[in-house]
């Protein structure tokens, strides 16, 4: 009502539009002492009101188009009672159920058969735990250290390393007692040292502990000088174990043992 009154009050030949309001503002702004006319004020309020309403409607439309309706997901509803069911229906249903159950059991047996029957290793990188298992049974549980996930950049060259323990299904490809570590470039970069040209300077006789189980691509399960860090994610990707746990895993897991890391 107020809108039409206001528009009706505007004199003919002087239509009020945005440009006019803008002009009015432009002329009024430098001379603050001379206030804008009441008519211009009303028009300005009117236009801002219409603008605000349109914007709100657009926003509401946009929000509504982006809303989701959530429903809790539970077990399926069992087949409900049917007053029309006949003995033939029931017999057909029973036949179908028998067939389905037979297929389900076959598939379940196949999945169960995929769990290694010999000793295997599971590494949980979130809890920093290593499990020696056989079928569903845990033979041994140990605290370990896994990859820090840290990023190291070489300040002298355009290269970088991310220290993640790789996830997936691996196998022990080689085992060694008193392993010697040939330090890669990142070991020097991390310590702020220059990378040596002489390979003999890379040999390290202490860091890996008494045993190492090689998983490929330079990753190993080995010992550590930093026993106090066991249970924390601080390594460069290898899996570190305490001395006794390492010996137990080394003695129990032959070459070919599956190592599942997640």
């Amino acid at each position: 009502m107020e809108t039409s009154d206001t528009l009706g009050a505007a004199p003919a030949g002087a239509p009020v539009d945005v440009a006019e309001v803008a002009d009015a503002d432009a002329t009024a702004a430098p001379a603050e002492a001379s206030p804008a006319s009441p008519k211009a004020d009303r028009n300005r309020w009117l236009l801002s009101g219409v603008g605000a309403t349109l914007s709100t409607l657009l926003l509401l439309f946009f929000l509504a188009s982006r809303l989701y309706v959530y429903d809790r997901l539970g077990p399926i509803e069992p087949t409900s009672a049917s007053v029309e069911s006949t003995p033939e229906d029931a017999a057909a249903a029973n036949k179908e159920i028998k067939d389905l159950e037979s297929k389900a059991k076959r598939a379940q047996r196949s999945v169960a058969g995929m769990v290694p029957g010999s000793v295997y290793v599971v590494v949980d990188t979130a809890r920093n735990k290593l499990y020696l298992k056989k079928r569903d049974k845990v033979l041994h549980e140990a605290l370990c250290s896994t990859g820090s996930g840290g990023l190291l950049k070489d300040p002298d060259a355009d290269r970088q390393w991310v220290f993640e323990t790789p996830r997936g299904n691996f196998r022990v490809i080689r085992k060694a007692e008193d392993p010697v570590w040939t330090k890669p470039d990142w070991a020097f970069v991390e310590e702020g040292k220059s990378v040596p040209d002489n390979w003999s300077e890379r040999r390290d006789y202490d860091t890996l502990g008494n045993y190492a189980l090689y998983l490929g691509d330079g990753y190993m399960i080995h010992g550590t000088l930093y026993q106090r860090y066991l249970g924390r994610a601080i390594t460069h990707g290898c899996i570190r174990l305490g001395d006794e746990d390492l010996e137990r895993v080394f003695r129990s897991a032959p070459v070919g043992t599956q190592v599942l890391i997640f």
Binding site: S65, P75, V83, P87, L100, A104, V115, A126, V162, E191
Partner: protein, 201 residues
């Protein structure tokens, strides 16, 4: 089960045997086998036991407790049914690593509390899946921040969503060990009731 079969054979007006549950059991077992053979990590989200199991090659690796599983549909298509009966191939967001500052290592025998260089653990993760589905993993204890809400809001692609509310105790572990490209399978097999267990014996 025997009681159900007998009831069904007695004639009209009786409940039909539970074909729906048998179909669901067979579907889940079949897809579980398919996922196990894929050699990929896969999650089995069980709406009956409210658990999320992580498996690889059929071997169960970890089981996380869920507070709830919620299915979300865009308002415009809320009336449509969605069965979640497929094996979804998903991609998880990558985590930002923390940069290491080069320097001498600490002494092996030193004691004390050294800082662990731990990348920040996210409070939620969205798996983008094919067939189109977004799986939102959210910690039950965390209220999403404005930035996360806006990100999820802006990510909308009209696809259905599943919200897995992970129990507080398991949330951090699941976010740390989230595989990069997991498969996701949903199970709605009803858990056996004490009666049916007794009958089975």
């Amino acid at each position: 089960m025997k009681a159900l079969l007998l009831a069904a054979l007695l004639g009209q007006g009786q409940a039909l045997p539970d074909v729906a549950s048998a179909r669901e059991r067979e579907r889940v077992a079949r897809l579980d086998l398919e996922a196990a053979r894929s050699k990929e990590f896969y999650f089995l989200a069980d709406a009956a036991s409210l658990t999320l199991s992580l498996k690889l090659g059929g071997v169960p690796l970890a089981t996380y407790k869920l507070e709830s599983i919620e299915l979300g549909l865009p308002l415009a298509s809320a009336g449509e049914a969605l069965s979640l009966d497929q094996l979804y191939r998903c991609v998880a967001p990558s985590r930002e690593p923390v940069e290491i500052v080069p320097g001498p290592p600490p002494a092996p025998a030193a004691s004390g509390t050294d800082e662990e260089r731990k990348p920040p653990v996210p409070r939620s993760a969205v798996l983008t899946c094919e067939p189109p589905l977004a799986v939102h993993l959210v910690s039950a204890s965390k209220v999403l921040g404005l930035r996360e809400r806006l990100r999820i809001f802006g990510d909308r692609k009209d696809e259905p969503r599943v919200r897995l509310i992970v129990a507080e105790a398991d949330a951090e572990n699941i976010f740390i060990s989230l595989p990069a490209k997991p498969l996701v399978l949903f199970s709605r097999v009803p858990q056996p009731t004490p009666e049916s267990t007794a009958e089975a014996r």
